[in-house]
Amino acid sequence: MTGERRYLGVDLGSTTAKAVVVDQDGAIVSSSTIAMGAVSRAGMQRAVDAALADAGLTAEDLDGTVSTGYGRRLVPGAQRTFTEITCHARGTSAMVPGCRLVIDIGGQDSKAITVDDDGLVQEFAMNDRCASGTGRFYEVLATAVEVPIEELGALALKGSTDLEISTMCATFAETEIVSLLAQDAPVADIASSVHRAIAARTLALVAQVGRHTPVVLTGGVAQNPAAVAFLARALDTEVLVPAHPQITGAYGAALLARDADRRGRPVADDVAGADRLFPRPSEPHSCGSCDGTIDTGAAHAVDLGLPVRLGG
């Protein structure tokens, strides 16, 4: 095998499209994330084009392509689709060897996946009927309290009073938030209370598969420090966050394409994880713009009085 083999993973999700190119060692060559209004072929193509351009490749240069996400069947050129469950487990296990519970909170859905010592799926639970507890839920909150989504986490970490918030429904929660604002409740308290309630809802999702540690949070919501911190408190354990939590699914898809090629099998006929993932040579997941460091949300965890230990 030469050192020039390249594999593409595409995760066409509900609100973002992600594309990752890896080499034969599983190292990330390039990646891209494109925000969309919804599942979008155009957004997916932009993500693929950007990742390929960044890697200096064309589609013809690829040795395998795997797609995942809600729009996985819309990706042209993919030899195989795998579900997000399989891909997130594969990608996260490679990024954080030894992780046992993956919590992925995306734009419109959330998942809890337990993985075994080999990084293979044991059990999973999904909450994808209702947007409660997902990225969409945080967007609703940000809009209601008139704070940019990027500043929401910092605001929530300033809250001190636990207000009553239901998380049965994102729409209903918005009504509650408006009601609390009308009662002149501090926005920081509202924000922190919503984060706390969402963490409790995620805890219920985790309960379906059982608590396991180490815990890794992925998906766009993992970029919100308060979401990480409140989830850590709810689980009473540290929560690890990969440096690029949004691309774990696409990364896992790319690795699955690589795995098949390494076994000398057509991607279309391969079984995900048919070989043992660990122990194996480390799969460096630096994307070139970072060192692949795992973020524990440590500063925020300290703010909440939580134990902190670096994972990974």
Binding site: Y70, T83, I85, T86, A125, V271, A274, R276
Partner: protein
Amino acid sequence: MTATMPPLATPDRTNRLAATRHGNRMVAQYWDDLFTARERGQQIVWYNGGALNPIFQAAGLAWCHGEAFAARLAAQQLEGPAQLAGAEYGYNAELCSYSRTHLGCAVLTVQGDEGAQTGVVGAHDQAELAARLPAPDFFVNNYAGCSTGQQWDEISYRVFDKEVPIFNISHPFLWGNKADAGYLQGEEWESASRYVRDQLVDLIAWLEERSGNKFDWDLLRESMTYIKRAAELRREGLELCKAKPAPATFWDWISAIAPINFLPGNQELVDYFASVRDEIQHRIDHGITGIENERYRLYFDGIMNWNKLGFLSRKFAEHGVAVMAGRYITNAFWQEPQLIDTDDPLLGMAQHYLLCPTNHGTRTLDYLTLRDCEEYDVDGIVFHSTRTCRAFTGPQRLLARSAQNNLGIPSIFFEGDVADASFYKEEILESRLAAMLEAIDVKRAQAS
């Protein structure tokens, strides 16, 4: 009704039993007979829950099983007008969609321009099946294990201004948690059986008094003799389906529910189930399978999503999944025919009403589920989390956990409903099913 996107085209890899088509014709004939029962001078009873039809048959009545009628409307995509009528009347969309549909029919019947004169709904489109249900002369409720079901006929009674006589049979919940308790055994089982049987005696006397018809005990015994034989043949067919690859699937048995659930006990019913069993045996003898290229065997827990029967059967077959069995077919509908004493059938009938799959404590359900999963040698469980049927969905998480812990069998959940298609979304089932099958592939690859 809101228009929904058509599902992505899927190849049909099913090989459904031919024999069930005759059952469909029998059921269609039954409904046609019911729709014209008033014209023949028959009195009509609306009932819910366990299969009281042999009693009604012996009492000289025509009968309408509410859930069955709602299921039929849903299966034919005709539930809309009744559900809208129910919604307008005030029945919340979270209410059991069986009852919502049937209560909507009651509302339409009462409001119908011709209803008062003819007993036939006339308010809306006469061409629709929902508009052909004759008004009741009696209500009888025979619901076990479901609080909504136990109130359903009471609410219908109110819709009809409390002018239609009603009889309610009370069923103790089978907790199964006493020291001597077990499936079909223990003091709780024995006492509950006698308690319900005594109420059946009262029901028969009540029907005689109210209808003016002398109850025909010989006809009851004869009817139950046929039903017992049909149930035995059904069980034999279910046993044959344990073969690998499966000669028929859960979806075939779903198609065969209506005949065993509410058709009259007669020779035609026996012949029907003999034909079903014989076709399955023929398939085994000749290597004919229920789906193309069976790769996985799954158990299905949940009431049927009646709007989606054909679609779901194709969906699972597309993935190479033979759905083998499920609580709704394996543990319901005269499933223990040995309990029926044809000379004195009331006790066995009462016991079957108690054996409604929503009327067991979790310990018994766990026993039944694990037993079936092992006997049918399944790779996983699909839980239909029926949105408006809490009675069925309540224990499902516990059952899933037990299957994983005790048998190493994974599960997935998808949401849908018995008679309201709006709760079902294809991608949710597709992604979860595919994820579970991927995990099963890995497990097999590692074991090989």
